[in-house]
Amino acid sequence: MSKQRKSKTQFQLALENYKKNGFAVLCLVILIVLYGGAIFADFFAPYTYLSESRDNSYAPPSKVHFFDEDGLITRPYVYNRVFHFDEYKRRIYEEDLSRAYPIRLFHKGEEYKFLGFIPMDTHLFGVEEPGMLYLFGADSRGRDVFSRLLYGARISLSIGLIGVSISFSIGLLVGGIAGYYGGKIDNVLMRLCEMFMMVPGFYLMLALRAAVPDDFNSFQVYLAIVVILSFIGWASLARIIRGMSISLREREYVLAAKAMGMTDIQIIIKHILPHTVSYSIVAVMLSIPGYILGEAALSLLGLGIQDPLASWGNMLSEAMAIAHIRLHPWILMPGVLIFLTVMSFNVIGDNLRDCLDPLLKGEKK
């Protein structure tokens, strides 16, 4: 038994502890599903983010039928919709029962480049033209919300990861250097951090966004947003890493590493920063939501990702008017996904903290 314990690495132990919290496992699954959807968006989505059909503006979610007219179970199918205007000139959609469109797996639809480079036209599912399948309804221009959510996930979810990796690299390095060297270097770097921390994040974000040239294309805007977001988070991390680094530099293995001929920067990377890992992992998890929300906020204000590119934030901007929410509640879907993502990252971060923190570990037993 003791032998078994020994052979378990720290990682395995942490994993075991992690599994004890069922809700956190569920959140992990949610994230895996969402990120999986984002990666394979063009395969999972029946349409591309561009395909629009003005006749279906704000079409409600398609009803998927499982039984035919005789009440017998059959392959799922949908009807197309036709609309007429009511007394307020609003479109009222009704199912057009004249033709049923069965939902087909591995349907050949619009062409796309799988993962960006393999040309393909097979989608996981879809219906034959001129049928339209709107699992989560359509937006103002009749674009499929479900497809756009998947494409939007690519931007909204990756922005968090990329942003966090940039700002954490800066934060770890600055904090590591400041704490390790101390003295003047420490002083200068920490005052710099404070300058960043002093400005409220959202206004800093707006100010930086204002500095981005107007003629950027959407990819450049995406990059600019990532950089802007990562400018905000690094300072508070740097301060905490600095504190850890100050105590770590006094360890004897740091002296031993110096005696071995390692240079300062090698020591910071190899011997100081690895000891901040368990803290950093938790901090990463807990700060990713900030980036996702940051992107959403910018896009919601129209300063972020521009239509027709989809991001959860700019999709949500359609839901700014209360009337829209009342009439077409499905356009809130991106908000639901943002909520799920943010919650999952927070729960995972919290749970990771519990199972990585050696102090809490003792308490739990």
Binding site: E252, Y253, P274
Partner: protein, 260 residues
Amino acid sequence: MSEILLDIRNLSVSVRESQYKKNILSKVNLQVKGQNILGLVGGSGSGKTTIGLSILRLLAPALKTEEGVILFKGNDLLKLSRKDMCPIRGKEISMVFQEPLYAFNPVFRVGDQIEEVLIYHEQMKRKERKGYVLNLLEKVGIPDPKRAMQSYSHQLSGGLRQRAMIAQAIAANPNLIIADEPTSNLDVTRQAQIMDLFRRLKTQLKLSILLVTHDLGMVKHLADEIAVIKDGTVVEQGETRQVFNRPSHLYTCKLLEALS
């Protein structure tokens, strides 16, 4: 028979505490000859560790080298820039610490940490390095080198850990090892084994060793020469037998008395 490898002359180190300055080392003179073991003996707080660290230029920021030269192979180490010190540390002069439990980073495997020396100082392929480390661990007499390589430092016994530390110190074939009380945390049999190991390595690898200790008995059997340090000054240096038979300083006499 052998020329002087390390020559410390007039080394003074002081510590600045707020206002006043206190000398920790004052005008230390010390010579280590090639392929020789020099035992540096002295009481607690006499400045032994400080000498070791000043050779590698690793003194704490509060400590300052006031004067003196440290000639290693004819070059003054005190004149080298920080950058030029790095290729010397570990490659020419390496250090064995008193408590290897702390000298190894607890989050990395011992084998990987020994390998690091090779990464920084030797051009070797990854595969070669692994074999070399295994070889080193065998050379310092670790019975199950494969397992030791894969272990974290806290999983090894004190004796094995100290051997692994020595393996790390000799990895890049240095000329001089500074061993700071390498056996003070071990029991008597382990101490004897480590002493044997040092003696063997000295001849096998043509090493010089600066053996820092407060244990005269240990030095008696191992060292070719002895230097006695008291309150930051070396009061006596000479061949072991000579110092034991005819100590020239009162403090040495007292130390010897305490031993017998």
